[in-house]
Subunit: 424 residues, 2 copies
Amino acid sequence: MTTALKQPHHVVIVGAGFGGLEAAFGLAGAPVRITLIDRRNHHLFQPLLYQVATASLATSEIAWPIRYLLRDRPEVTTLFANVNGVDAEGKRVLLEDGDTISYDTLVLATGARHAYFGHDEWEPFAPGLKTLEDATTLRRRILVAFERAERETDPARRAALLTFVIIGAGPTGVEMAGTIADLAKDTLPPDFRNIDTHKTRVVLVEAGPRVLAGFPEDLSAYALRSLQELGVEVVLGQPVTECAIDGVVYGGNRLEARTIVWAAGVRASRAAEWLNAPADRAYRLKVEPDLTVPGHPDIFAVGDTVTIAGPDGNPVPGIAPAAKQQGRYVAALIKARLSGGTLPPFRYKHAGSLAQIGKRKAVIDFGRIKLRGNLAWWIWGIAHIYFLIGLRNRLSVALSWLWIHARDQRAARLITQGSSKVTG
Amino acid sequence: MTTALKQPHHVVIVGAGFGGLEAAFGLAGAPVRITLIDRRNHHLFQPLLYQVATASLATSEIAWPIRYLLRDRPEVTTLFANVNGVDAEGKRVLLEDGDTISYDTLVLATGARHAYFGHDEWEPFAPGLKTLEDATTLRRRILVAFERAERETDPARRAALLTFVIIGAGPTGVEMAGTIADLAKDTLPPDFRNIDTHKTRVVLVEAGPRVLAGFPEDLSAYALRSLQELGVEVVLGQPVTECAIDGVVYGGNRLEARTIVWAAGVRASRAAEWLNAPADRAYRLKVEPDLTVPGHPDIFAVGDTVTIAGPDGNPVPGIAPAAKQQGRYVAALIKARLSGGTLPPFRYKHAGSLAQIGKRKAVIDFGRIKLRGNLAWWIWGIAHIYFLIGLRNRLSVALSWLWIHARDQRAARLITQGSSKVTG
C-alpha cells in the first residue's frame, strides 16, 4: 500500500505512548490527515505498570485501545503494525510486513526498552518492566515463587524462593521493592500455611550512592529510611556483576534469589539507527532545539527515544510529562508551519518528580516545594488517578486502591500463562 | 512428601472449581484437616468467561486466588500443583512432580475441558473456552481479526477476517455469538476507518435442531429470533465436518472464516482413567447415588467430571449450581460419617437455567416460571453479580457492565501475548 494522496498534509506518528498520543491530540483541528502506527493495540499508562507486576491493578485498568482514544477524530487512522525502518529520502515509513506509508511530516515517538549494558544474557533471569506482558510475566514469577516456597522443604531453597532482588533504585525499582514488601507483609501472610511470608527478603541493589538519584538528597534519604522501615534491604554503591537463574553477584558476594527484577536502565528504540542519525550512548537521538532530527526538518522525535538539554542544562528526564510536552510542542509547530509560521525552540517545564514508597508514603519534588510521607502519597494517588484517561478507569483504579488500603486485598493475584500444564 | 499424620481425618480435594470449593466451604467446623489441590492459583467464575473472551470484563474480575478464599480456615492447606493420578489402594494422590499426598477421604472435582469428538486436530483452529488463557487467546484472535481486516485490501480476505464462526449453540455458543455481534455493531464502528464493522458476519452453527437445546422450545425459539435480530446467522441441523485455518465446512459447503470458536462439547477430566472406574462416552465417572466412585466408598467425585441421573431421570446438567450442590452434599456426608451417621442419596434440585443473548436480553427457565427479554436480562445480571465472590468484584463487574450499557465501551480490549514482536 503506497499512500499517494497529496492533499491534505499527511502526518505519520510512530508510537502511541505519551508523546505520540499527545502529538495526535494536539493536531486536532489542523488541516492534516494523521496515521498513528503502533505495534500494540493499546496505549499504556507506564507509571503504574509496577502495580500490575505486583498484583495491585488489572492490565485493563492502565491500558486503553488506541483506536478508542481517537474514535472521534475521523482524520486519524490507527494502524496496528510494526515499523522497522524509515526511508527519509523517499519520505516513507517501512513496515515489517512489506507495506510502506508515505508521510509529509514524520513524528517518531518510539520509546525505550530496558537495557542490560552489554549483558543481554541476563534478560531471562532479570526481566524488566516496559510492557503489559513484562508486567504479567513478573507477576507470575513473584506469585509462583511464594507458591513454590510453600511446598519447598529444604530451608536454603525456600529462603532463595523468598528472596526478591530488584536491581536499580530509580523510581521503578523503589516502587517495585516497596510494593513487594507490602505484598509479603500485609497481603499474603494469612493465605499460607507452611511459610511465614513476613520472612521474605526484598533486596534493592543500586550501583550509585543513593536511591532516587533524580530527587534532592533529603528526599533520597527519606526514601531510604522508609524502605528500610518496610523491611527492604537497600544495598548502595554496588553494581551487580552477575545475574543467573539462582541469584545475583554484587560486591563479590553471591545472593541466592529465585526472583530478580531489572530496573536499572533503558535504551532508546532503533529510531536513530533507522535514520543513521547522531545518538548518545543509550541510542537516544540527539535532536535539534525544535525536536527535529538533524538534517531532517520534516522528521520530529519525542519522548524516551530522544535526548535534549532542559533549561537547567541537564537532559530532559525520561518521564511521561516530558514526552507529553514534547508531543504537544511538535503538534503546535506542525500547525504553525502549515500556516507559514514557526515557533521558538522547545522549552521543557519540569512540573515535579513523584515516587511511591510502599502503600502509604511517597516523595514529591515540585522544585520549591518538597513533600514526603502520607500527604505526599495522597497527592501522588490523586495525580495518578487524574492522569488516567476516562472516568471508568479512574473509578476502577480508585476502587482497587481502596481495597488495598482498607483490606490489604490485591485484586489481580493471578498466575496466568506458563502454568497451563493440563491434567484433565 | 508423604503425609503420615493420622489425626485428624484428612480430606484431600482435587480441583477448586465450584464443586471442590463448595466442599471445602461445607467442611468448615468439621474435625478434619483439608488439602485443596489445584493446578491454577485461582478459582474461576466460568459462567462469565465468555465476557473476558469478548473484551467485556477483565480477567481479575472473574477470578480469585484460591488461598485468599480460604485464608480464614487454618485447617485448610492449598497446594498449587498438578495431580496426575490416584493410588486408591495406598490412599494417595500422585502429583506430577513426584510428591504424593495421603488421604482418608478424597474428593475429585477435576472438571471438564472442551472436546473435539475425535478431531483434536481442530483445536488450533477452533479454540474452546475453559480457562483464563483460553479467554485471552480468543480475545486476541477476535481483536486481531478486526485489526487485520482494517489493513486488508483484498475484499475476499477482508470478508474472511470479518467472519466469526461459533460452533455449538448451547449457552456458551449463544452468549459468544450475541456478544461478538454487539462488539461489532455497537462498540467498534466509530474506531475503524477502512472497514465497516457492521458488515461483520457472526455465524452460529449447531448440529442439533435448535439453539439452547436444554431450554423449553418456546425459549429456544425466542433465543433464535433474538440472535437473528442481532444479525447472527444461525445454522441448525448441520454438524461441522471440517475446521481449518481459513474456514469451516458444514452441509457440504465451505465458509471462509479466520476466527472460529469451539463451544460444541466437553469431555471430563482424566479422573475415571486414574481410578480405572466406569465412565460414559464423555469420560464422566458414573458415580453411586451418594456421589462415591463405585468400589471406593472413600472417594467422592462431583461436578463436570461425573454423570448422575437427576430426579427427572435426565442427567444432572454440567452447570455451576449442580457442582455446588454436589460439593455441599459431599461435605455434609463426610461430616455425617465422621459422627457415625450417613445421609440419604444426593438429590439434585434444578434452580433454573439462564442464558444471555446480546447485551439486553436473556432467557430464564425456572421450571414453572419462564422469562425472556429485558426483565430476564436484569435478573440474569443481578444473579451473576450476586454469585460473584466479594464486594470488590461485584462493584467492579457492575461498573464494567454499566459502561457497556451506557457507552458501548468495553474495558478490556487488549491484545496481549503473541503481539510482542519488538521493533525497539
